[in-house]
């Protein structure tokens, strides 16, 4: 076998074989071996029954009283990371997630956020279409001095 073919063969085997690593290491959601990834996406099933999903929106109230949506690009996190690292802990009652969020989004802001509001709308598929149910708003307040 020519040298170049030998080198290419090793490259091919590496590129294929390295895909076994994330499976062996079981890194779950926090994979760090990109581009060698486990491809277990949308793998879980749900049993027969009502189909529900939630729409979650984050808002911030500034020190001057203005209300603004805290969209994910503002936070320096992607949308899924924002969901996992901020919204889910907030839903579970973790106030440190809200504090972390506020300190992130306040970087460089003249009118800092002092309160973060999490609004959740639950949608259920019914015979007549989508039924919307608003859940109570979850609010976390941070002192103006700690907000920066």
């Amino acid at each position: 076998m020519r040298r170049s073919k030998l080198f290419i063969s090793i490259f091919i085997l590496l590129m294929i074989g390295l895909h076994a690593l994330p499976v062996i290491l079981r890194q779950g959601e926090h994979q760090t071996l990109w581009p060698f990834l486990a491809w277990a996406m949308y793998k879980d099933s749900r049993p027969a029954g009502p189909v529900q999903a939630e729409e979650r929106l984050l808002f911030g109230v500034t020190a001057k009283g203005a209300r603004e949506e805290v969209a994910w690009p503002l936070t320096g996190l992607s949308r899924p990371a924002l969901g996992r690292n901020v919204i889910q802990p907030m839903l579970a009652g973790d106030s440190s997630a809200a504090r972390d969020l506020i300190s992130r989004v306040n970087i460089g802001r003249a009118d800092p956020f002092v309160e973060v509001l999490l609004e959740v709308d639950r949608y259920t598929i019914s015979d007549t279409g989508l039924v919307k149910q608003q859940l109570p708003v979850i609010a976390y307040r941070v002192s103006p001095t700690a907000a920066r």
């Binding site: 294929i16 895909h19 926090h30 793998k43 049993p47 529900q52 996190l77 990371a81």
Partner: protein, 322 residues
Amino acid sequence: MTRWIERWNAYWFPKTTTVYLGASRIIAVAAQLFFFRTSLSDQIHLLDKNPTFIYPQVLIRAIAAIVPRDVVFTPSGFTIIYWVTMIAGVAALIGLFTRASLLIFAFGTWFFVAHLYSYADIHHPEAVFCIFLLALAFAPSGDSLSVDALIRRARAGRHVPEAPREADTAMWPLKLAHVLMALTYFSTGLTKMVFGGLDWMNGYTLQGYLLADGLRRNLPLGLWVAQHHTLCVLLSIFTVALELSFFISLFVPRTAPFFLLNALLFQIGLLLTAGHRFYPHMMVLFLLLLFIEPEWWRAPLTKYFGVHLPRWRGQEQAQQPL
């Protein structure tokens, strides 16, 4: 052992024209340069908002271990790497110093994607495409349709177009992409069956996923499909069947266009109903559809339009199954 090596060589290294590889290089590099390119301001925004990496990718960890964070991972460091990558990309596109420019372009692309995914969020769309970009750097991607080829011809004193060049290393990047596609689809399908079981095809599962994605990304088509149970059952069966059977295209090469076309339609469906932007993945499927088994479009071109492309010598060899 010799028989295995012969089979290995027959599959990966058939003697073929380098034109398809050159065309693949142009399409893939152009797509990365003009459509999939990362935004420098987004990358710098990540640096500004995050004083540390959250879950650094292995490539980023390796670079940070060698070069201090405050040298490379700064707005000015990123700006330099970005423009070096872009210049290399333009050179790779036109085929100037093709291998070197492809290598720099591929590593630059890997660097920015790996950095993007070092903040607690990771996605799959670029993975196979980026491996393909790197593979192009180790193949004769500049032998055809390139400035390098023009220079080579000029130096040889030829002024008439030469016949398409052939090489036994012109096919393996496409074949590698094909194998990786089969691997990823099979892995995705298998995990659905292992973790979700047959319930994954009960319709409710897909309804739930489409409803969540449709709401999150405001997708009217996804929300509409989510409300049709029978349609979701059929689409679930199609999804699992495609993912688990895609690898057949490796063993029965004639079926490749069928599977690749279905996979492309599947990805377009995912984009429209769930907002999954697997554009680089779709680009790999498109390139495979064009070049891994090109007879499906070459034959009608000749039959109905009378276009006679030069016969791809060694084509029968290239169609060796895995």
